[in-house]
Point group: C3
Chain length 257, copies 3
């Protein structure tokens, strides 16, 4: 039972929505266990960011994966690691290792390298065939390259990924959320771009990377408490859930549960 | 015994001063235990920020409260949670639950909602009657609303709260400390406003929310090592205490213990 | 064995290079143990920042030192604490206590106070005679004082310290890395100043304090994966190692291991 339970109500998201994706950039297993104990139920997906899982011992990665799964959280390695495997032409080996380690989802991105559209669709299909949840990411990590794609092409990519069978599509904002994708250099939301995605995709299948608090507030106030949000820092998981429920000043009295 | 104990001296604050209030935004119990083990003696009050305690299990909140108390730290739920109870007309239930959970202090704020002055004084009285330490907060969380109050009215509110029996009065600066209250948008101290509080209130009863390091340095250099400071992040507790004692470059040779 | 070990290769730094120095500003022992368990092998030196070790109990400092050493990490107290000892004329007592606590290195700095050049050389010699690894630091903590030194004098100091027997020389950037030393007020690298150090010192003996991610990326891309970097936050240890190995977007395909 929650403390002060007479003051609050549960969120009731539709299946596949209301997602909180946490960015784990190398938490130790005890630190993770402690986080999950207090707030694990507020995390749905956990990204072991970029190639971090490839510099840690298998035994520790397996331990962390099992911890996540025991709290109903689906862990997955960052898209950059798949890009490394793609460049080295080791996709099958990558997926096999991910499966053996116990990961439950795979991210397909081209944040740094180029992946041909036909290869992208093929990888999505292969990931699905292996029984993973399939998360794609749209956007480049280099802000200059990211701007060159253009919003129309990004919308197309979101829809192509959904057609290819992606369970969710991430919009790239990196760990920092400034000067990239839908955020200006101060981290403010480019509202017209967000609206363009809303109007031309299935927004309930997008996970908006929103590492900054003002970004989280924006999406909750504009899309409701069950908007899908990603790249949430571990120490912000509790804060985000309180904002979704109107228990922080920024959203108090402004959300409908 | 402290390491290098021949190099340092203790602080000797007057009762009720020299306060460090930490902002806990959802620490897990083991993480908290570890923090308290190394630096618990440098924390006096711990705010479980805004409504965070209302999304955690009672058993974990009780465990955390007991941990705090075993180190002589007084934990209390954030003012926003009291505001939620006020809006729902559940003040008595709120105070009863806080008591049953083991909290030792209560914060009375109107950072987001409106509370009538007579209600505010009545709540302060009720909180005191329940045997809690009573901490009020002056200031709005929305910077625009906060500016509208005006410094004169804020000074009046501080004094009204003291007259009504508050043990300490917090000056609102939120978690970030930028563009709010006594801080400009870059987090620099508005020195004339601080001076106005100094001249027209009992400053030893104010806890200055000062989440940024430059703010902490300012208060220590201008008001001495035993100034009351609040909204200190857990990972800054050790740093703050070293600055109070002249053990960091910013204050070395500049404080009188 | 590492997870995904078929995707990565080890770094092979020359002895004394490839150093990662972490800034520990008061980690609790369990938190430290957990960090070391997952990423301890990627830390070479750990600075217990400024005077932090002097406000913690001897038993906890000894426990932390032993933890560090069990993972091959050399811990040492921050230079500010040596400055406190120098001002109090307690250098011998300081070194004896550091030895008894189990520290393996000592930092000699004049970030806040003035130390005569002849005293500095003498202290370096004394530290070496005690069997400590000897780390000096060049630069002032106050940005205004730091600017007054001038780049030519800093280069001289680096070389004097090396001549006096320093194992490594730190370039001061504090915890924040903005508006100080080789970084402008936004934390961008002053490339011409870095080049001046490169051209006129033994750069492989410098540890560049580089707390910000963009600074770490700069040094890795310009000086290779085994550049010595310092003041790395505990939560960034994993990230830094992935960037050194080309496993994050910023350096993927751009480093030669």
């Amino acid at each position: 039972m929650l403390a002060f339970n007479f003051l609050t109500q549960d969120r009731k998201p539709q299946p596949g929505t209301g997602i909180t994706m946490m960015l784990d950039k190398g938490l130790g297993p005890s630190t993770l266990d402690d986080l999950l104990k207090i707030s694990g139920k507020y995390i749905n997906l956990a990204k072991l960011g970029w190639g971090t899982s490839a510099i840690h011992n298998r035994a520790i990665i397996v331990e962390k994966i099992n911890l996540y799964k025991s709290y109903g959280v689906k862990p997955y390695p960052g898209g950059t690691l798949l890009e490394v495997a793609y460049v080295q032409d080791k996709m099958d080996q990558y997926l096999l290792e991910a499966k053996q380690l116990g990961f439950e989802a795979i991210e397909i991105s081209d944040g740094t390298i180029e992946i041909l559209p036909e290869d992208r669709a093929e990888i999505i299909g292969k990931v699905k065939d292996c029984g993973f949840k399939t998360i794609t990411e749209v956007g480049k990590k280099d802000p200059k390259k990211d701007q060159k794609i253009g919003i129309s092409r990004k919308v197309e990519m979101v829809n192509e990924d959904i057609d290819a069978g992606a369970d969710w599509v991430l919009l790239e904002a990196r760990e920092g959320g400034k000067g990239i994708g839908i955020y200006d250099k101060n981290g403010n939301v480019k509202e017209d771009e967000v609206q363009f995605f809303m109007d031309n995709t299935k927004p309930e299948m997008i996970i908006w990377e929103a590492p900054q608090k003002n970004q989280q507030v924006y999406f909750i106030l504009n899309m409701g408490p069950n908007v899908n949000l990603g790249n949430i820092a571990p120490e912000e998981i509790t804060s985000l859930e309180t904002m979704r429920r109107g228990l922080r000043g920024d959203t108090l009295g402004k959300v409908n549960l």
